[in-house]
């Protein structure tokens, strides 16, 4: 099987600070890759570099698109990159206020990506929006409400619907469960797990919560000071951590 995303020796510096130091990994279709590490370990920067939100100094990020063409994301022209981000990619932000348009209704939030790719039929957009609302377990009656009237968990689920509506193949998530209480987290994780399976999504999931990666991620990378210190199958890494930092991380968790 061909990898969906290949990252080779990606380096990103902020002045003298190495935010990401020669990071390499491959992501296959349907796979969930977890990235854990403490604050400042470079995991969010890595995600932003891959998504093209920030430019990086060295390395190659190669993505294999729907038609099986390899695309070098670093040299991809801006219009094509933006198009790709709206059709085949998705980015879930920790704070739903950054990922949603708070001043337009839930329906319009879901419809935006469809409008971006040229859908011009109001009825179709409406139907699609309702479909995705049920998919993320938001009652249909809330379609014309503003996201600001939603609870934190609902906002996060709406963010998922907004992205998934164009059937992306790869979704990057930056702390999607951060700031939610435990029961809401559990529900969101459950939903994400089933969506990943039914839609055959590939996911890169950045978090500092070991419980989240244990539940969702197939593979795991542990980062410290901009470097990957350990990687492997999630269960393997968490049950038999080799690197001292990983051991510390696993031991520091209340319920591993």
């Amino acid at each position: 099987m061909q990898p969906l995303l290949t990252v080779n020796n990606l380096s990103k510096y902020y002045g003298d600070l190495k935010a990401c130091d020669r990071i390499s990994f491959t992501l296959y279709p349907g796979q969930v890759l977890g990235i854990i590490g403490e604050s400042g370990s470079g995991k969010s920067t890595l995600l932003d570099s891959i998504a093209g939100h920030v430019p990086f100094e060295n390395g190659i990020v190669e993505y294999c698109d729907r038609d099986n063409n390899p695309i070098d994301l670093r040299t991809l022209p801006e219009p094509r990159r933006r198009k790709l981000m709206k059709t085949e990619w998705g980015f879930v932000r920790q704070n739903p206020r950054d990922g949603l348009r708070m001043t337009v209704t839930a329906g319009a939030n879901i419809g935006e990506r469809l409008l971006d790719v040229g859908e011009r039929h109001y009825g179709n957009i409406r139907t699609e929006a309702l479909e995705w609302l049920s998919e993320v377990e938001i009652p249909h009656g809330r379609i014309d409400d503003f996201p600001s009237t939603f609870s934190g968990g609902m906002q996060q689920r709406l963010q998922l619907a907004r992205i998934l509506v164009t059937r992306p193949r790869i979704v990057l998530m930056d702390e999607p469960t951060g700031g939610l209480d435990v029961s809401v987290q559990a529900r969101l994780l459950d939903l994400m797990r089933s969506l990943v399976r039914t839609l055959h999504l590939s996911v890169i999931l950045v978090t500092h919560d070991i419980g989240v990666v244990r539940l969702l991620a197939h593979r795991l990378m542990v980062m410290q000071n901009g470097q990957v210190v350990e990687s492997g199958l999630t269960d393997q890494v968490l049950d038999d951590p080799h690197h001292p930092y990983t051991q510390q991380l696993v031991n520091a968790t209340l319920i591993p």
């Binding site: 801006e78 219009p79 933006r82 348009r101 337009v104 209704t105 329906g107 319009a108 419809g111 935006e112 990506r113 409008l115 971006d116 790719v117 011009r120 039929h121 109001y122 009825g123 957009i125 014309d144």
Partner: protein, 302 residues
């Protein structure tokens, strides 16, 4: 656009004498040239906003300084100027701008749409179709259609460059969701030549279809925002809509109470404090010509 040097005497009807001490059309020749360059760029890329160094004019921003600068740089001695404000030739803004150009150019002015070679407008397109060879200048308060969606000019420029107009449709979606129809009544955004999203200045949506494939050259000047853009003759101009909510224009249950027109844009005028009101054509020239024709034919009949 004809030569802007003062005209030679000897034409059959001597034109009004321009005020001494001013350059022809108030602006200096270099400025006019710079503005004409911006206009040419605008014509070359229909609907695309071209920045220009908007000058101080002898009136405040918001009174049509953009339109006046465009008019001043394209007007020639042999032009006939018409100025309308809300469709009327006799409102303050229209009268003042017409007087201004009479004073600094000494050009002929008219109130008849078909006689004018150059028309400056605020808020309307005349009911009488424009002809090839006419130049139609709009005063624009806000040239950027994406402003209320994307306040950053840099980002908006990028959206124009990449033709990312999805967010504009989000606004229309919201309208239909809230009101069951697109409720924009004026400054209704249009796609020009299938490429650029454009604000048509605050004309009512009623006038939007008149811009499409219009034989006249349409120029837009925004003085405060320092932007010029253009629609060349016979250019496709399409109002944004949804497939299942097509663009439509306003209509009235009443005809004009002065001339009986049923095909023109009507103003609602309150006539007393008892709730009395009447509907009359906003295009005064159109209304008067119709009234004159009717009284003429009535006399013939009598």
């Amino acid at each position: 656009m004809t030569s802007s040097s003062p005209g030679s005497p000897g034409s059959p009807a001597p034109p009004p004498i321009p005020e001494p001490g001013f350059n022809f059309a108030y602006l200096d020749e270099q400025t006019k040239r710079a503005i004409r360059r911006a206009i040419l760029k605008g014509v070359a890329i229909p609907g695309h906003q071209i920045p220009f160094s908007s000058r101080e004019m002898p009136m405040s921003y918001g009174w049509g300084t953009g339109g006046i600068q465009v008019t001043a740089s394209v007007i020639g001695q042999d032009d006939t100027l018409k100025v309308i404000d809300q469709g009327a030739d006799d409102t303050t803004n229209a009268v003042n701008i017409r007087r201004f150009f009479k004073k600094v150019c000494g050009v002929a002015t008219t109130e008849k749409t078909e006689e004018a070679t150059l028309i400056q407008t605020r808020h309307r397109i005349p009911e009488k179709p424009l002809k090839a060879g006419q130049v139609f200048v709009y005063q624009v308060p806000m040239p950027e259609p994406l402003y209320f969606i994307e306040p950053s000019r840099t980002e908006a420029n990028k959206m124009h460059a990449l033709e990312e107009y999805g967010p504009m449709y989000v606004k229309l979606y919201e309208d239909i969701t809230k009101f069951g129809r697109i409720s924009l009544a004026y400054d209704y955004p249009v796609m020009v030549n299938g490429r650029h999203l454009m604000n048509p200045s605050p004309i009512p949506r009623f006038d939007n279809p008149k811009m499409d494939m219009n034989p006249a050259l349409q120029l837009f000047g925004a003085g405060r925002e320092k932007r010029i853009y253009a629609i060349p003759p016979y250019t496709q101009v399409k109002s944004l809509d949804f497939e299942d909510h097509p663009f439509s224009v306003e209509n009235w249950e009443h005809p004009c109470e002065f001339c009986g027109a049923t095909d023109s844009y009507l103003d609602e005028v309150v006539i007393d404090d008892q709730g009395g009101r009447m509907w009359i054509c906003s295009d005064t020239d159109y209304c008067e010509q119709r009234q004159r024709e009717q009284s003429g034919s009535a006399q013939k009949l009598g």
